[in-house]
Amino acid sequence: MPTTLVIGYGNPGRLDDGLGPALADRLEALGIPGVTVDSDYQLTVEDAAAVAQHDVVVFADAHVSCDPPFSFTRMEPDPGGILSFSSHHAEPEAVLALAKEAFGKTPAAFALGIRGYEFNEFGEQLSESARRNLDAALEFLVPRLQNQLILSEEEV
């Protein structure tokens, strides 16, 4: 059975930025066999170790500008997503690149961007529109994970 890792990331204290962790919470509650769910404020280098241990990886995050309800795209390793100024945050392509270079593994990887709308205040709830988009993203993702279907961006 192929192993799948879903990482939902973002800050649940910043309104729709919490879409990634919210998706992770709901997925984890389903306990789908072969699927590991992780959640964090942002991606960092140690995620490369977990990424390298799976066959398929889905990076789930809020998206500021995609067409609603969500975008689903294939990702390839790219070191360009490493920020150098001060942030400890890394882009998913860079985490994939680190998994490739440091651990010799390149799983099939996808970005699930869930459209959010409100980010600029403190608050621990999703906007109504974001919540609907989260439901749509789960409707898309869950059956594919349950049935071990090969994920493809063309299906979206």
Binding site: Y9, G10, N11, P12, G13, R14, D17, G20, P21, S39, D40, Y41, Q42, T44, V45, E46, A48, A49, D61, A62, H63, V64, S65, C66, P79, G80, G81, I82, L83, S84, F85, S86, S87, H88, H89, A90, E91, A94, A97, L98, E101, A102, F103, A111, G113, G116, F119, N120, E121, F122, G123, E124
Partner: protein
């Protein structure tokens, strides 16, 4: 101002939380002034008002995705005063300390291997395409794996002590809500020797680099300053608990053993019209002379000794470079940070062998109070949390001073110094010049990410703009 040109370095994150460096040039392209603009978290102190005090240690973790554990522990320490005072059970205090040393270990390792090592291994002027952690992974794969595994180890300690990797609930007002199981302890002990070895190796890289390049690094973004931290009552470095000490550039004490509840008698905060951030200063010296540095460099300078043997030996070597006087070299932050990394590893070892971690007396209760202050040495420096709570258990006042705020003025000084030394006379933003400004800021490991992180981030961009707003030169990275 009419004759000034501006160089702007602006990493624009998705919504807010971005930092921007503006370097003002005069008509001769000489640096007139440098400013680091940081959009600090806004509205949190209002957001927390009205909420029950026991929620604070969890709610404050929303402040920042980089250092949630520091806010968790500082808030819990403040709320200890509301319910019990500062004396916790041995199990509670040691579990919190393990959590804190675990986060210090992972934070320092991440900063060093992810952000700093590419500059040290490839040089400031190396091609940005290879001067990053992926470049390190390609040329020095064992170091890249080491950095990842060190970060992971610290994160696992946080998970075991805080309950979860994010939104930890471990520290509660008056104590802790779990102990460390024997299975968890044995898991960490199994990897400990490897991590001790890695910590020693990391320290060696930072020390050797600094000593070998001392002539170049000593003036780089450097200046004399005051230094501030908490220290234990016997003068030892203590990252979790202590009293406030500030020293001047020569090591003379400005104040010492100041009780946490009197922080506002010694430190004031100034607001400037060009920045959202506050500028804290030592009250007795005033805003002009009272600014100070916090973080690893300040802590090594302020403490009398470190109470773990290997880190103490390293501290003595460090202090010998400046003949026992405070080290004011900005780039020495990296060496100091790696001394603390080894100290954290030693402390983790000490704690894992302490049976109190398996104790079951987790919480104390005492006299109810209406005010609580928690001060902790976060990886980036001293962090202050101050709350007032009404009789209905609601928070009515919150004041936070985060470490990056305290280092605000020093970072401005560092940028100005680098700009004066490297940018004056060159009216073009080159990659090398940009990176030198970044390197100076990076030494402080500032946390500019009290912001959101989602897809759609924009790259770092640099603009050279004249007094009329015309863009003379522009460069982006990322």
């Amino acid at each position: 101002m009419a004759d000034l040109k501006k160089i702007t370095i602006e990493p624009v994150t998705r919504v807010e939380g971005h930092g921007k460096v503006t370097i003002l040039l005069d008509e001769n392209n000489k640096v007139k002034q440098a400013r680091l603009h940081i959009v600090e978290f806004r509205g949190f102190e209002r957001f927390i008002q009205g909420r029950p005090f026991w929620e604070a240690p969890v709610a404050v973790q929303r402040l920042c995705g980089i250092c949630p554990v520091s806010h968790h522990l500082a808030a819990a320490k403040a709320m200890d005063w509301i319910v019990s005072g500062e004396n916790l059970t041995p199990t509670a205090e040691k579990m919190r300390r393990l959590m804190h040393y675990g986060q210090t270990y992972q934070s320092h390792a991440l900063h060093f291997f992810h952000l700093v090592s590419p500059d040290l291994l490839f040089g400031f002027d190396a091609d940005p395409a290879i001067r990053n952690v992926i470049g390190v992974a390609q040329k020095f794969p064992e170091l890249a794996v080491q950095g990842v595994m060190m970060r992971k180890y610290g994160q696992e300690i946080i998970k075991a002590t805080a309950g979860k990797k994010i939104h930890g609930t471990g520290a509660i007002p008056g104590g802790i809500n779990k102990n460390l199981s024997l299975a968890e302890r044995d898991g960490f002990l199994a990897d400990l020797d490897q991590h001790m070895e890695w910590a020693r190796g990391s320290l060696k890289i930072a020390k050797d680099y600094t000593v070998e390049h001392l002539e170049t690094l000593a003036p780089f973004g450097s200046f004399d300053s005051n230094h501030l931290s908490i220290v234990r009552e016997d003068g030892a470095m203590d990252l979790y608990n202590g009293k406030l000490r500030a020293i001047d550039k020569d090591g003379n004490k400005i104040f010492d053993m100041v009780d946490n509840f009197k922080y506002h008698e010694t430190i004031a905060e100034e607001v400037r019209d060009w920045s959202y951030m506050k500028f804290p200063f030592i009250r007795s010296l005033g805003p002009q002379d009272g600014w100070y540095r916090v973080g690893p460099l300040a802590r090594i300078n302020t403490c009398d000794f470190i109470d773990t043997p290997e880190a103490e030996a390293a501290r003595k070597e460090f202090m010998a470079v400046t003949a026992g006087k405070p080290n004011n070299i900005t780039m020495a932050y990296h060496w100091a940070r790696m001394i603390e990394l080894l100290h954290a590893a030693e402390k983790i070892k000490e704690l894992l062998h302490d049976p109190d971690l398996q104790g079951t007396d987790l919480v104390v209760r005492g006299d109810r109070r209406e005010e609580g202050i928690g001060i902790i040495e976060a990886p980036r420096g001293t962090l202050f949390h101050h709350y007032k709570v009404n009789e209905d258990d609601q928070i009515t006042m919150c004041n936070l001073i985060v470490s990056t705020t305290s280092n605000n003025e020093p970072m401005n000084r560092a940028v100005q110094k680098v700009a004066e030394d490297h940018i004056s006379g060159i009216p073009e933003v080159t990659e090398g010049l940009l990176n030198r400004v970044e390197v100076a800021i990076r030494a402080y490991d500032p946390c500019l990410s009290c912001a959101t992180h989602a897809m759609g981030q924009m790259p770092l961009s640099v603009k050279l703009v004249d007094a009329d707003g015309n863009v003379l030169s522009e460069r982006s990275k990322g």
